[in-house]
């Protein structure tokens, strides 16, 4: 009988020890993580200097209408009359006719400013983030059109589905107080 009692105490001791170790372990991990963490939240964003506008953003987002849309930094734009982000590569005429536009959803607006300058802007509600204009603008223009995750739409998945599918590893987590990676304009 005393033998059996011993057994029980030993088992309980072992159990208690393990229990304490687990609690300490959770505390240790949490403590380490909390010690390391500044009070930041993370959001997903696209580095425009890595993005190749492959089109995955339009279809790989978990949302029906992608959270990624084209952004235009006016400070880089050349205000070109013949914009390769706006016009079809072989337009019938240089005017705003739908048949001359490159954007399949008609999301780019063109507005005459003054001879010879035109302002281009994105209708966010129409843009689907395919990046076709980004390709055109990067290749021939100044690259003022580029894709960015729009944080009013993004649901901030713990693993962004587009980021996993991005061929140029252009997605990265950014701190929530710097939610955009816009191209810089060092002359402004």
């Amino acid at each position: 009988m005393p033998q059996r009692n011993d057994d029980v105490t030993r088992r309980r001791l072992l159990r208690d020890g393990l229990w304490g170790a687990c609690l300490a372990g959770i505390g240790g991990v949490a403590g380490f993580a909390a010690h390391k963490g500044q009070k930041v939240d993370w959001l997903w964003q696209i580095d425009p200097y890595k993005c190749i506008a492959c089109g995955n953003c339009a279809t790989h987002c978990v949302l029906e209408e992608s959270a990624v849309k084209c952004t235009h930094v006016y400070g880089i734009c050349g205000y070109c009359e013949i914009c390769f982000g706006f016009f079809d590569p072989e337009p019938l005429a240089i005017n705003e006719g739908a048949e001359n536009q490159m954007c399949p959803t008609g999301a780019i607006e063109r507005k005459f400013v003054e001879e010879p300058y035109y302002e281009y802007s994105i209708s966010k509600s129409l843009c689907n983030g395919c990046g076709k204009c980004v390709k055109g603008c990067n290749a021939f223009g100044n690259g003022s059109l580029f894709l960015q995750v729009q944080h009013d739409r993004c649901v901030n998945c713990n693993q962004c589905a587009i980021a996993a599918a991005c061929p140029s590893q252009a997605f990265r987590r950014v701190p929530a107080d710097q939610p955009y990676l816009l191209k810089s304009v060092d002359h402004v």
């Binding site: 200097y49 890595k50 190749i52 506008a53 492959c54 089109g55 995955n56 953003c57 339009a58 279809t59 790989h60 050349g78 205000y79 070109c80 009359e81 013949i82 914009c83 390769f84 590569p89 072989e90 240089i94 490159m102 399949p104 010879p116 395919c130 076709k132 390709k135 055109g136 990067n138 290749a139 021939f140 223009g141 100044n142 690259g143 589905a161 996993a164 599918a165 991005c166 061929p167 191209k183």
Partner: protein
Amino acid sequence: MTQRQGKMDSGVIITVLICTALLVAIGAVLLVDATGRRGSGLSRVYELDAVRLASFDPNLILYHEVGPPIATGFERSRALALGANGRFYIAGDKAVHVLRDKGTLEQVIRLASEPHCVAVSAEGRLYVGLRDHVAVFDEAGQRIVSWEPLGERSFLSSIVVARDDVFVADAGHAVVLRYDKTGQLIRRIGEKDPDRDIPGFIVPSPYFDLAVAPDGLLRVVNPGRTRIEAYTFRGDLEFFWGQNSIRIEGFCGCCNPANFAMLPDGRYVTAEKGLIRVKIYDADGVFEGVVAGPDELVVGGAARVFLSVEDAEASGFDVAVDPDGRIFVLDTIENTVRLFVEREKG
């Protein structure tokens, strides 16, 4: 008994259902394209079919490359000029490299800032265009003088030396400046002037080239209008040519040609950026043929448009022509000089 039978049936049905669902689920998991290997799946309207439109008949290629490319020794090469003595003057990084025929580095002229363009006079003087001013060097590479800076907005992109004059293209102000050889500004050429029927230059990117043609007129690219305009030294617009098209006969994009040079017989050699191609036009601006297309000029790549801004910005290849009509192309991506000569006819 019948009840038992019924129970067995439901058991079978449930098992079959579970197994089917399991197989479907496993299949669906395997189909998930987490890594994007299947691409975007967007339809063709979302594709920029510039590559297809830019393809051309290979019979139009009139030149072929000779010898291996010569390394410029720069991280970022900017401009190429040929000296009368057969030397290359290449501007890049923060220096001008003087190379002899096979690429031996003969001289390095260090600069405080990045040069954008370079020209050599008949006497061997070197005119280097920096961002906002011109610096002049003697044959030994000693700085003789720096001309008056042109202001913060200026962005000199091209320079050419005539017999008595120096012409400088200022892309930032979209104007050509005519200087005498002492650096005295004589005239501003090409500013918008409805009275003289001058439409003005449109320069959306840092490429704005000029040259003096054998006919004695100045040729200046009007990149925003994708054409080349001819001016007298007094600033009168004589004529222009060039059309916007992605097809081989035209100049493609918002602002092209990026650079050009004149052949001794008055024909043009043009270099386009974005979709990189070097082509020949006759003295009237009629398309003649191709020196090299994107396939040949972009190392390791098929005809393609550029994927990043840096790529595109660096893709304004420069061209220079020697008195024998041989064409030198400065590859600003690979930082080499490549030589092209006319194919023998027959």
